[in-house]
């Protein structure tokens, strides 16, 4: 019902770093689109600068990062820095992939709003985005 009168949630799904394993990113992108969100998939090997630029250009509400290579800490640190520099504090960053549990507190400290580990369902991702959705959605 809200769809007709309100703007749809806009999500940028990105694969940072050098890894090409994009099955998870694309399955999540499809599930979010099927759930009625506006999904922009950046494609592979995007630098933090390119991802934040895409989020700016697309006026994104959420950035979803898929990282399986172990590079999540330096990449997330850089993405969060860039968002802060540009005053984009309302953009929520979610991360999915092979993330050791011991790194989750550090990701949360950086301001990451949700971390999805292997086995997470796409329904969980949809729910997290919807529950975190503020009035602007």
């Amino acid at each position: 019902m809200a769809e007709a009168t309100h703007r749809r949630v806009r999500v940028v799904i990105a694969k940072p770093g050098l890894d090409g394993h994009d099955r998870g990113a694309k399955v999540v992108a499809r599930a979010l689109r099927d759930a009625g969100m506006e999904v922009i998939y950046t494609g592979l090997r995007q630098s933090p600068e390119q991802i934040v630029a895409a989020a700016t250009q697309e006026d994104a509400d959420v950035i979803g990062l898929s990282i399986l290579s172990g590079a999540h800490l330096p990449i997330c640190r850089r993405v969060m820095e860039l968002l802060q520099e540009r005053g984009m504090r309302s953009v929520r960053v979610l991360v999915g992939g092979i993330i050791p549990r011991q790194d989750i507190p550090e990701l949360e400290r950086l301001g990451v709003a949700g971390v999805f580990l292997p086995g997470a369902s796409t329904a969980d991702v949809v729910r997290t985005i919807r529950e975190g959705a503020g009035p602007r959605f």
């Binding site: 994009d22 099955r23 592979l44 172990g70 800490l73 580990l117």
Partner: protein, 543 residues
């Protein structure tokens, strides 16, 4: 009569079949199979004894009685020195061959100090950026007594050159070296996405390498045509088989078009498949693979040598099936998958470690994975007779079905003008994506049970993992910078110019790559030289 719905089953939207009784690929399975299900099967024509055309039952007459499969565990992390120690450990504990995992900067042809290498150095594999790192990686390992498989694709000519040059320093010629480079670029465009250059120049590099190895390296497997990654990306068993074999056909066609005699190079082609969780479907897939390849090589390409007809393959258990939840369950999954590979007649096998959904494996986890193979080989008795499931009505029927499905894909891809053209229009990529989405939906609807994930879930303590710290990157960056400062600069610059000149022309790329590698040019420098000539590929992603 009650139907499946009333019994609590749910119909698969794809097939209308009761989803509980379909394979992991969605293939319906009948309640029982009988002789009439395989009534048209002709033993001599369709199966043959092991070691006989069309090799459905295996490529060797005695199979594992002559020699058990090679237990080849993929390994690599951190610096070359760290991985060298892991290799020596594996060799001391009964591993039969080495298999090198490179880190992402190496796989993508970037040096450790490139901005895109941020956070990736030494993480997913070992960092090798020059001949210097390769010398460290194989220090103290006699290259004439081990076989080495290198999982490297776009920069495969460079890594092959490094290996040849390490051999040279040990007093060995290229003809003494045995092993494989993966060098299967088509599956990179289709699934794993570690491409650098566009498809057509990438194919030329593969053909140049096959030609070089055919002329100079009689013991080297020139290319490992891989379904593993296609399956991991979400393909069904039949799609894995179809796209992999059609990739093989494409390489053979390009080599023949380049003037190579099919029987001169085809015997050194090898394959690499995934062994997933659906036991009988996987065994049928391996059997169908051999039959299709034998017929294709004989009938489509007119190969005369039986060695050209034989499909030899490596198997890895399915990484994608491993769960982060209750990781010890992965030992059981891996055992079943490894058993399917063995019953399917694999030539070599990698068993995944129980903690690989969490991180790179610990030494303890790697040891259990290797022991899994040893228990199958030495305790289970399954290696005593070749193709023990041959003649099973179920397995023969599945073998026929999977073969038919693959041949149908061949027809479609041929109609598009071949696999390079199909890849350029995103055909296999879309087919795989659809399968990946279907499987995820089936799991979320609990039509497919994943133990510990969507059923039988429990609270658990965090599992101890191997943690790689950031000092590897600093060490590798310092090392490559010191190397650049210490080389003969003029020699490196000239070698890179020669490489570009060859790339622009039609000469074989291996010669200038060997020269540049000898001058300690880095992977990043050589790949950049080729980027300048060939350009870089950008895919149009579909989801």
């Amino acid at each position: 009569m009650k139907n499946a719905h009333e019994e609590g089953g749910s119909a698969s939207p794809a097939t209308g079949a009761d989803a509980r009784f379909t394979t992991i690929s969605g293939r319906p399975i009948a309640p029982v199979y009988r002789p009439q299900d395989v009534a048209g099967l002709d033993y001599a024509r369709d199966l043959g004894d092991p070691g006989r055309f069309p090799y459905t039952r295996g490529i060797h007459q005695t199979m594992y009685r002559g020699k058990v499969w090679t237990m080849r565990q993929f390994a690599g992390y951190g610096t070359a020195a760290q991985t060298n120690a892991r290799f020596k450990y594996l060799l001391e504990h009964g591993g039969g061959g080495l298999s090198v995992a490179f880190d992402l900067p190496t796989l993508m042809g970037r040096d450790p100090d490139h901005p895109l290498s941020l956070g990736e150095v030494g993480k997913c594999g070992v960092s090798v950026s020059s001949l210097q790192d390769m010398e460290t990686l194989f220090h103290g390992i006699p290259l004439d007594r081990v076989t080495t498989s290198m999982t490297i694709n776009s920069p495969a000519p460079m890594l092959l050159a490094f290996y040849i040059l390490v051999g040279e320093k040990e007093g060995l010629g290229p003809e003494d070296l045995a092993g494989t480079v993966q060098a299967d670029i088509l599956k990179e465009f289709i699934a794993q996405k570690e491409y650098i250059y566009p498809p057509r120049p990438s194919m030329r590099l593969v053909v140049d390498m096959i030609r070089y190895c055919t002329e100079r390296m009689p013991k080297w497997n020139t290319i490992s045509i891989s379904g593993y990654h296609i399956r991991e990306a979400g393909a069904t068993a039949a799609q894995e088989l179809a796209f992999t074999l059609r990739d093989g056909i494409e390489y053979v066609q390009w080599c023949v078009d380049a003037g190579l005699d099919v029987d001169s190079f085809a015997p050194r082609l090898s394959f690499f498949f995934n062994s997933h969780s659906d036991f009988f479907e996987e065994i049928a897939k391996f059997r169908a693979a051999r039959r299709i390849w034998a017929r294709t090589m004989r009938d489509r390409f007119g190969a005369k040598s039986p060695r050209s007809w034989m499909l030899r393959f490596h198997t890895q258990t399915a990484g994608v099936s491993l769960t982060a939840q209750q990781p010890y369950n992965n030992v059981v999954r891996t055992t079943l998958q490894a058993l399917a590979g063995v019953l399917g007649g694999t030539q070599s096998l990698h068993t995944n470690s129980l903690d690989e959904a969490l991180a790179l494996p610990t030494e303890e986890a790697v040891t259990i994975a290797l022991r899994t193979q040893q228990i199958i080989a030495h305790e289970s008795g399954v290696a005593n007779a070749a193709d023990p499931l041959g003649g099973s009505w179920l397995v023969e029927k599945l073998t026929n079905e999977i073969e038919a499905e693959a041949v149908e894909y061949f027809r479609k891809i041929d109609a598009m003008g071949g696999m390079v053209s199909a890849v350029e229009r995103g055909f296999p990529q879309r087919e795989i994506q659809e399968s990946a989405v279907r499987f995820q939906q089936a799991v979320e609807r609990k039509e497919k049970v994943v133990v510990g994930v969507n059923e039988y879930v429990m609270e658990e303590k965090p599992h101890p993992i191997l943690y790689i710290d950031g000092t590897v990157a600093e060490e590798q960056v310092a090392r490559v910078r010191a190397l650049r400062a210490s080389r003969d600069r003029a020699r490196v610059a000239q070698a890179l110019e020669d490489l570009k000149a060859t790339a622009r022309g039609t000469g074989n790329i291996m010669a200038p790559i060997l020269d540049a590698s000898r001058a300690y040019a880095t992977i990043g420098e050589m790949c950049d030289a080729l980027r300048g000539v060939f350009g870089e590929y950008q895919e149009q992603p579909v989801f």
